[in-house]
Symmetry: D3
Subunit: 298 residues, 6 copies
């Protein structure tokens, strides 16, 4: 049992961190286990609410998690894959958008409101704030030639207009963003949530971008937590990719960090969303958690 006085002392210990991040904007890519597990989900939401109350401006960008597949399966919609890439036809996109903007987004909004915060959910269509274009994808054909493949409604960010997010932040709300973009053709595009988080962080000139993942961070030896790389400069990354230390799904996450840094984001973090209160642990401890990716000059 921790006594009230000990608790008070811990609040006091938090003061330097509160000061340090007062008024700062933190964009959080929220996905993976942290979204699936009830306890973890509750913890992330509470972390964001606490951040808002102690003067930070958290912005949540969420992914879709297993809900999309569950719903596609339920309506009996089969999706094609071309060389491992899912083709998102109009019908699939409709389901994707309903799940992202109509279910997951509103659940997060509701959870924040129930935990004492005030949230407003936004899809990139609202105020046309995420302008999208089709994402180019290439496969190698049977003759070993590079060939473009039409993935349908899979999008990339063409531009971010942060006005509506800034309005929502200034009025005291936590913006919750579904990664849907609006094409010039008026069509919806499903965009990778890490990418959206990075672009939104860039457009807001955020102080921090935090990607919640299902790993502890970047590890020299993925089987040993002791080999976690806690800080990484951009220039060190190519070699680590070559050596295979950064590989697979981590590569786009790291690229997202590099791109956000180039757009003026202060620091970027890849942290373990499977850890309860990982957001607060990153912010309220000196050592932080996970892997921080920073500009070379730091």
């Amino acid at each position: 049992m921790i006594s009230p006085l000990e608790k008070t002392n811990i609040l006091i210990e938090a003061l330097p961190y509160i000061k340090k991040f007062y008024g700062r904007t933190v964009v959080i890519k929220y996905g993976g286990n942290a979204m699936v597990n009830d306890e973890l989900r509750q913890a992330v939401i509470v972390d964001a609410v606490l951040m808002k109350f102690v003067g930070m401006n958290p912005v949540i960008v969420h992914g879709g998690g297993p809900e999309i597949n569950r719903m596609l399966k339920r309506v009996g919609k089969e999706t094609d894959f071309v060389n491992g890439l899912r083709v998102t036809d109009k019908e699939t996109m409709e389901i994707v958008e309903m799940v992202l903007a109509g279910k997951i987004n509103k659940e997060i909004v509701s959870l924040i409101n129930q935990n004492g915060g005030k949230a407003v959910g936004l899809s990139g269509k609202d105020a046309s704030f995420i302008q999208a274009k089709q994402k180019l994808a290439f496969i190698e054909n049977e003759h070993g030639q590079r060939q473009e493949v039409d993935l349908g409604h899979v999008g990339a960010v063409a531009a971010i207009n942060p006005e509506i997010i800034n309005t929502v932040i200034e009025k005291g709300y936590i913006p919750v963003v579904a990664p849907i973009g609006l094409g010039e053709d008026g069509e919806s595009y499903n965009i990778n949530a890490d990418t959206v988080a990075g672009e939104v962080a860039g457009a807001l000139a955020a102080d921090k971008l935090v990607l919640l993942t299902d790993v502890e961070g970047i590890m020299r030896d993925s089987s040993s937590a002791d080999t976690l790389i806690s800080s990484l400069a951009v220039s060190q990354i190519p070699a680590l990719i070559k050596q295979g230390i950064i590989g697979g799904g981590m590569i786009p996450k790291v690229e997202c960090c590099i791109s956000a840094l180039a757009k003026g984001v202060g620091r970027t973090h890849i942290i373990d969303g499977r850890l309860r209160h990982s957001l607060l642990l990153e912010i309220f401890t000196d050592e932080g958690i996970g892997t921080m990716v920073v500009r070379d000059e730091e």
Copy 2:
């Protein structure tokens, strides 16, 4: 062919109406055929955009239309009816919310943005702006006794907090509202869109509430357009209900008008959404269209 000068003259004719409604708030219940038919949908959207550009503040509250049934059918979800009332269990509610907030709402937002307006979609969960409670429903049982029946997630409005809508209006956006309420229990409730439109109009002290329906208005003889009642005072309504002139689905619409007038809304209108540009016709012609329901003193 109409010459440019004739066109200009028509713009000039619109001036007195523009002046009259400058700065006024108009809440529009959008549903029925006007939402199903492509051409009508386009016309309603353009009407709202035009209203915004000539200085009015339109607010759109939409219903669900046939999309909800289509999706329920698609996922093989059967819904029970108790004496004609649909029971909305948790699973049904999930589908309803996805369709309303994730599909229809975003389609309207997108359509407005493509037509040169700026829209922001809101579900009642956003900023907790529609607080809901379960709607009480009663049936008569076999012994002729009145008996409460649990309709599940069918809701009534407990309170409206218009702050987020006002913010969105002030910043130049058209708010588009999905009729989902947030219960104290954190659950979603599906609320009748007419009811939400009326309550939102009341909370905003709107100048006008316009219900787009699939009839021409209230008619003494439903088979004859000539018998349309163009203006109706609240005190005249009970007699018309008794006589059966107002009946069926029109009764809740009329009650919604009465309630909105009691909350301070200026005027209320039941108009024919099957008519192209019915919104503008109501506002930009002296005689208006459909049936206007007003306070007795007028």
Copy 3:
């Protein structure tokens, strides 16, 4: 007879133009027949009021028309001409100022107010907003030598201080400007209204300058409307002057356009004020009317 629905369709056709000019400042030089003819006058005023209501910021600069001569005649004041230039002595100036600032200006203000707009009349003396200096004029004497001639109170613009106009615009009024300047000596100066319109447009960084004239625009052959030049780049002008296509009273108007473009005005137009609703026709039709003078790069 045009039906209400056709009228509504015409309003809708105006929407793209309303969007295009929303928030734009348009300085209108108002003079000639459009000021003399009752019907035309009414049409210009209504055009300006409509422009204000659909989000533009019209600014009206008016000339004096035949009223000045009529009053001079009435008081028996004869004015001298030196080589065709009228000499404006102190007594003449007094009459000129009274007519411009006390009669014509107030009539326009009153007409706008009666047509549902809100106008405020300003002479360049108000808030000292048009600072004037004497206009230099030269004649050729009997020995063929260039000789300066004192035209008295005929002025040129020394500086524009747009603060009062901006205040008036922001508060929702249409500014109506009489072309009187205040000299350093405290004397009044009569300045050409085209010049004042161009200078005011420059000082406000207006989007458009529109000169209402009594011709259809610049024509290759003044006897044939078919030869109207609808668009003209600045660099094309010297040749046209040389060829005599631009000549006489059109030269100072074109120079006024060139000067306004150089000061940052978006586009300049010389249009036919004898046409009812010429202002709206210029703005609300794709082809526009009259002659548009633009920068070369366009």
Copy 4:
């Protein structure tokens, strides 16, 4: 010769008066000799500028003085009198308005600007701020019966909308008002300047109304300055009128004071405009000058 130190001491003596009137609104009816005599005119203007600089908000309402008659004479316009009341036909009104709004108003504005202040001239037509109605006038006919007489464009104040004056004051300008009102019929009306000053003071809830006249104030014996009544409560006035001590042209001035007090003006003063710097003498001396008319309770 007064030494710099003595001068400084006099500034210091002014401090309590500056404090007392800081932020206060003072409406000044400017007319009579103070407008005719060059030296007096300069003095009044400088007084107003000084008042503005030491934190007061002076508002000047001017009359027409002999200029109107001079111009009427000049254009050969004869005016009829019915029992001593001038009939103002349309043609006369036109001359009156030009002189008031186009000449006198602009001269005052210019004089203020040249003396370091910033002034904006307004006629009651600007922003429709003085709404007028025809003034009812009655004569006694040959049968001794009261009979209404049509004086044409002689007006009374129907309403004052002070918005434009408040805007002008807030932006640091001194408003200069010509006593022209706008009738519902769109016609101009000439209104007595004392009346306009009183009504404007009432609409602004001014702290002071000062009427500059050509007498020293109200005197028990008009031939003896010693009999000046320096302070007068409203209830004392009827007796003084009965006794003939207040008579002739002083009656409407006193009535104007009574009306302004009833509308909430703090204090009203009838002072001698023939005295140089009478405005400052009234404000910066304990005893004041002229006659002060106050509410009974004071």
Copy 5:
């Protein structure tokens, strides 16, 4: 050792309290041991800074502590006592003011600034915000008669003008107030710091008034902490005074609470300043500490 995760959990536990007090104004009377002991002083300052950072508006009113006596002794100034009341002559007052406003106030300001907050020190003379009058005091003379005694510069609050405090709060500073009042005579008055805290809390309509004392609160048996009265309604107080449970120096403190509640302060607290972080303990624990004095209706 407490782990980072446990610490994070404790922050999360604080969230409901942070929400509850977000935006609330808390006036703290700071004195006694909490001001003398270095460790306690540091803790109080840090508590106030934390309160500011998590959205509360703390206002500190300090007493003089032993510093005043020390300085009086040092300058060899003896002070008279009349029936136990210290007489504060002009010379004593001078020392008192220097110590309060020049030493203690600035030490607190400096300590806050060093701990990451931003403080501005104010004496009641600044902006004349505490207007004082002499405090009436009475003694019983040898004949048993009540006799007024002149205590010199001992003051009572005549009025509080909170403008400067509100300005300072809005700009993000913590106001630190020395209990000096300004008499109408321009003299300084020493006012009891509890009284000033209560009056300032009243003028600010504060949510909380917290008096830091050197006892645990009000106890039924002062020798036993178990008998602490944790909550007390105003109506219960007279009986407790009669019974001697509230006595001595506690009486004025309780009266100060009663007076503050009457002026609209939400809740008042008498807590133990000898306890480290007693301020945070009061706010961040359900049970609070010390004795809370509330209105009867609660």
Copy 6:
């Protein structure tokens, strides 16, 4: 005796000066006889209040005068001098700070408030607005070598953060500054008041810095007022120092002027505080008084 009219004329004479300095910031170093002599003190205060009321923004920085010595003597504190420089140990600093911030500062504040102004006293610790560092001092030792000497709490300005002063000015108060700085170590530092005035003037980009001294200005022959140098460019100063015309205590004052000019202050003045209303005499007379030090280009 000066008549009211003569007085009014003198006010009018002041108008050009009022205009010239309207909205200007004037930092006044207040010290010497002007602080000791009751009559002079009153005059300076009234001058500052008048300046505020006629639209200037006076900022007062005061020195300590003989009060500090008196209090040091009274508490029996002896201070050491090293080669003529006073060593300020911690105990001395405590007394210095109490006298400056707790006595003199509050007396000036109170005097301004009593004379109709509104003042707020600030020490450099408030809002940490004067950041200080120890002042380096050097003496020559017995071997003729330059040797650093530790003068204790004698400070130099490290940085000025003018935010709190700007806030106070905007809200209509006169800031009164005690020359105490806050070291990085949290210690207080006594800084020369001329220096603080110059630095504050620089940080505020003041229009004027006025140093009140006990001499008439810089004189070629200090025994003859006729030799007063009324204007001096920076480049002329070195020669005058060489010639001994500027010497002793005047050197740091002149250096303070040079430094303020370099930081962007408009003009600097060394004037005679022994003269009643010297501040107003400097501002309200053409010739000014004392010596003005200006940039070379003027």
